[in-house]
């Protein structure tokens, strides 16, 4: 049985490899463009997926409202930027303040959402928390829609076109470059936070065993709140950058982006930070290539197929630790 799988696998890889190499050689620039496009797309997913994976790692909850936090981040940035713009402030100051406000407010929303919708459900069945999260997501969407507008609003990029990057801008725009660089920075910072700081250690301890962590004097509630705050902050940064990239936002952008990011997080192994980034990149790049070389109609089908295949062979995602069942 095993040999059949291996043979089929080798055959498919061989054929695809051959066709792939032929394509690459025939038009290497196109290949590169798709790769870079995929990288951008992956980085976009990654910025949202990081928050998902952190929250999941610590309380095993699919935080459905995470996409909405991302949306609120972008919305706050838009509002702040518009107001300051009308007051005639300097563009650079506006950009910085918009990001700062977006991050602060997203954190506040993330914190509050956790206190209202998840904390009372800490000992309830896990699905109840999931439904509560879905309810929260609906609520936030409609709250923003009613308070602002259901229509798409143009979002003027806060990131200027860098002069030094101009020669390459047709391959990758300044915004895209910023997105990729930011993703790397955020991932590294998060890695440092979790590996080396006190709160990071507390997070890891809580993720492993809440009861034990509490016995060791870790304030579990505080750790969970911190996780939500940090996750929301990354989402807000993502929100602002992605809004700059696509140039428009409305109340509903969180849902689709959140869904994709969640898939990416699962693909990489949910709960793992490098996993979230790797999963996002795999998803983004493979989607990009699939659209580029095959049919974009079936892009999502392909993405899901990759997910299914990877999960069948690695049931805990690419970098997820396979938890042995304790008997």
């Amino acid at each position: 049985m095993r040999w059949i799988y291996i043979t089929i696998g080798v055959a498919i890889t061989g054929v695809l490899g051959f066709l792939g190499i032929r394509e690459v050689v025939s038009d290497p620039v196109y290949f590169l463009e798709l790769l870079l496009g995929g990288l951008t797309r992956g980085s976009i997913y990654a910025l949202i997926a990081l928050g998902y994976t952190m929250v999941y790692g610590i309380i095993q909850l699919i935080n459905f409202a995470h996409g909405e936090i991302y949306m609120i981040g972008a919305m706050t940035a838009l509002i702040v930027a518009s107001v300051l713009g009308l007051w005639g402030w300097n563009a650079g100051v506006i950009a910085i303040l918009a990001v700062v406000f977006a991050v602060v407010y997203s954190c506040a929303y993330g914190f509050t959402v956790e206190k209202i919708a998840y904390k009372p459900l800490r000992n309830a069945p896990r699905l109840s928390a999931l439904i509560s999260a879905i309810g929260m997501s609906l609520f936030l969407q409609n709250y923003v829609m009613l308070a602002q507008t259901p229509e798409f609003m143009p979002f003027r990029s806060l990131i200027p076109d860098f002069a030094f990057w101009e020669p390459y801008a047709h391959i990758m725009s300044s915004v895209e470059l910023t997105i990729i660089v930011t993703t790397v920075i955020v991932m590294v910072l998060l890695g440092i936070l979790i590996k080396f700081t006190r709160i990071g250690k507390a997070m890891r301890a809580t993720a492993q065993d809440k009861v034990m962590a509490a016995l060791l004097g870790i304030n579990v509630n505080q750790v969970i709140s911190t996780t939500f705050v940090v996750g929301s902050a990354t989402a807000a940064i993502g929100g602002v950058l992605i809004a700059c990239h696509v140039g428009q936002i409305n109340f509903f952008i969180g849902f689709l982006a959140g869904l994709k990011a969640f898939i990416a997080a699962v693909l990489g192994g949910i709960g793992s930070i490098p996993g979230a980034v790797l999963g996002s990149l795999v998803l983004g790049i493979s989607e990009s290539f699939f659209t580029g070389y095959f049919w974009s109609e079936y892009e999502d089908v392909f993405a899901f197929s990759i997910l299914v295949i990877i999960l069948i062979f690695r049931p805990s995602g690419i970098l997820g630790k396979h938890e042995a069942q304790k008997v």
């Binding site: 976009i44 798409f152 952008i253 659209t291 109609e297 892009e299």
Partner: protein, 372 residues
Amino acid sequence: MKSIFKALAIAALAMVVFAVPGFAGDTIKIGSAGVISGDLAPYGISALRGVEIAIEDLNAKGGILGKQIELLVGDDVCKPEVSVNMATKLVSDGAQMIVGHVCSGCTIAANKIYKDANLLVVSPASTNDDLTLTGEHPNFFRTIAYDGAQATLMTNFVKNELKAKKVALIHDKGDYGKGQMELAQAAFEKLGGVEIVLLEGVTTGAVDFSAIVQKIKRSEAEVTMWGGYHSDASKIVQLLKKKRVDTIFFGGDGIIGDNFTNLAGKYADGVYATGPNDTSSNPLYQELAAKHQKKYGEDPGTFFYNGYACVQALSMAAEKAGAIDSDKMKAAMYEIKVDSPLGPIGFDKNGDVIGAGFSVYKVMDGKYKQVN
């Protein structure tokens, strides 16, 4: 136990209260159905406002056949299954004629109910060919030209005016967008001389369209035609410009209007689109624009004038028929000439509008200008 009976009784009572159908009194009820929540809401709301203002105007002038008009509003969220419930509700509530729906799928699904209740339906926005050309919807009229007409216009323009040899057809996989591109494909094939180098659908609402943009670039299409709505279109247009892809972006009436130019901002310049004929010189048009501006503080949306025209047509038909009777009104519909903000319009035997056609627009300095 008592409490349960009590609760049941209350529930039943509540339902009766909710459910009492509006008995046809001294008013005429017009049902307006369309999408007024969710992401397509702007389209539905623009039409609904047209209907509202038209009814206000009519009521001020004494209504239809001397009776005041009452408006019943339904929201189908652009989902066929909701639209059926919605239609049932409008019929239950005693609607005597319908303006709607916006999304073609909803109109198709809901019209079964209307047809059965023998109500006339006039849509301000449903452009699907099947609605009028198959003969399955004899009670259906519209104040907007159908997709096929638009496709012919688009393809002819691409071939004769833009002189393109290679076109890419991109759509959003929805019934409206995909349908448009399929019609365009068929029209090009009939026309000949233009090669379709790409026919693809993209996921609406996606965060990144760079892959499809690269693909367009690689296909060397001189014109990229778009079937879909303004939000995705503006994302693609921006990327096309940013990636320096040398192609002309050409969309249908889904991207006509300020919604698109505002979203795409500086990237919108040079985009072509087909849309209803520019009738801004029409005095009624100007009057209505002013009214809208006064009432809502902004310029009218896409289907505002079409919505207004729907009500006008229905009231004229009723006056001509002399009664609120669908069969007589239907016969009258074929004969009337409506002085609408879209210009003088009438209806052909299929129920399609005569006189309100499409023209091609181009964005120049952030505004759509008619070019043919």
